[in-house]
Symmetry: C2
Subunit: 215 residues, 2 copies
């Protein structure tokens, strides 16, 4: 368990530190300074030292952080020192892309099963999975004590699926449907909607003089 | 152009408002109160009123916001009252999924061309595109005055691709590669790495008593 209350904005940066440190470990470096780490992440060294100090004292005077030790500690803090099972709901275009993304398993998140309610899709092979009926979702989640799910259904169906998942015991939802979900306070939702990110950028691009002239 | 300086955290919420209001418009509602909008977005009505007041006065006493007018205004503010062309670099598993995602075009972002440097992929059909050689990237971006790009190459190649894009004139990059990119201050990068979101959630799930007991 976390040692003390950590602001969510700090928690959100920890996976970035983990990702960068994993790359640094692959490069064979044993130590890294907060300055070097900051340059790789475009985060100030002071911020990094402050964030990490919430979890203990990792740095060595003049040498920086010990990469292996900090990695192990971050994995434990984030709860990714073990494998997590997830269910994926939705086996259409988006769900298929999610199911075929190899980055999950490589980094400790394994899709245990894929579900859909479309009879055309149930029974179809999707990567290493055979798509199951959504009718089996509740029993499967309970039987395997699954806490993480990914939703890749159309926006109109996403809330219903989220409600089912929460009732079955899911506590974290990665939502690919372009809609805001409502869940109890005990459940966390993270959203992936690439168009929101594009629109965030076009705000600034549109404000540029040359773009304003063409709109 | 924005009327005054708007904090980036507010800018990041505008696409959420736009998405929710688009759904509300499809439902046929002419007006929406900040209370109802807040409930759909899990954002406080006070926050919504404060955010939107930065751009003018949209609400009508007792009736709420006029949906069509606010939508049109938000589209203009975000610069999405016109279509944006993008290039996609990377035609592997991840790039293929991105290329086949229909949500971009539906919401005004059109992939103009897909590039890869792997001879095995160049010339291959991908959705409505034929994958082009990365050698053509610079000339294509310049010829079409493209400002937005998506990177879906392996992490090890992403920075090189970003540098090429920036040199060619790209000012906004949606980065699907699991690595932090370094770009000049005039360029914006938004990142999509679903594993970071999962790790953000497992931090909290691991802190739960039952999970802590099993780890």
């Amino acid at each position: 368990m976390p040692e003390r209350h950590v602001p969510d904005i700090v928690v959100a940066r920890l996976p970035l530190y983990l990702r960068a440190l994993s790359a640094i470990q692959r490069e064979g470096l044993a130590f890294i300074s907060s300055k070097e780490l900051g340059e790789r992440l475009s985060i100030s060294p002071a911020q990094i030292r402050k964030d990490l100090s919430l979890f203990g004292d990792f740095g060595r005077q003049g040498k920086g952080y010990e990469v292996n030790a900090l990695l192990a500690r971050l994995r434990r803090i984030l709860g990714v020192d073990r494998e997590w099972l997830m269910v994926l709901v939705g086996a259409g275009h988006l769900g298929s892309a999610v199911a075929n993304y190899t980055g999950f398993a490589q980094r400790g998140f394994r899709i245990a099963a894929v579900f859909d309610n479309d009879p055309q899709r149930i029974g179809v092979r999707l990567g290493e999975h055979v798509v199951r009926s959504a009718d089996e979702l509740d029993a499967f989640v309970r039987a395997h004590a699954i806490r993480l799910a990914m939703i890749a259904v159309p926006a109109s169906a996403a809330q219903t699926v989220a409600d089912q998942l929460v009732r079955a015991g899911v506590r974290g939802i990665l939502n690919y449907a372009p809609v805001t979900l409502t869940v109890p306070p005990s459940v966390r939702v993270e959203n992936i909607d690439p168009v929101l990110h594009l629109q965030h950028m076009t705000y600034y691009l549109s404000a540029e003089p040359e773009a304003a002239g063409t709109s």
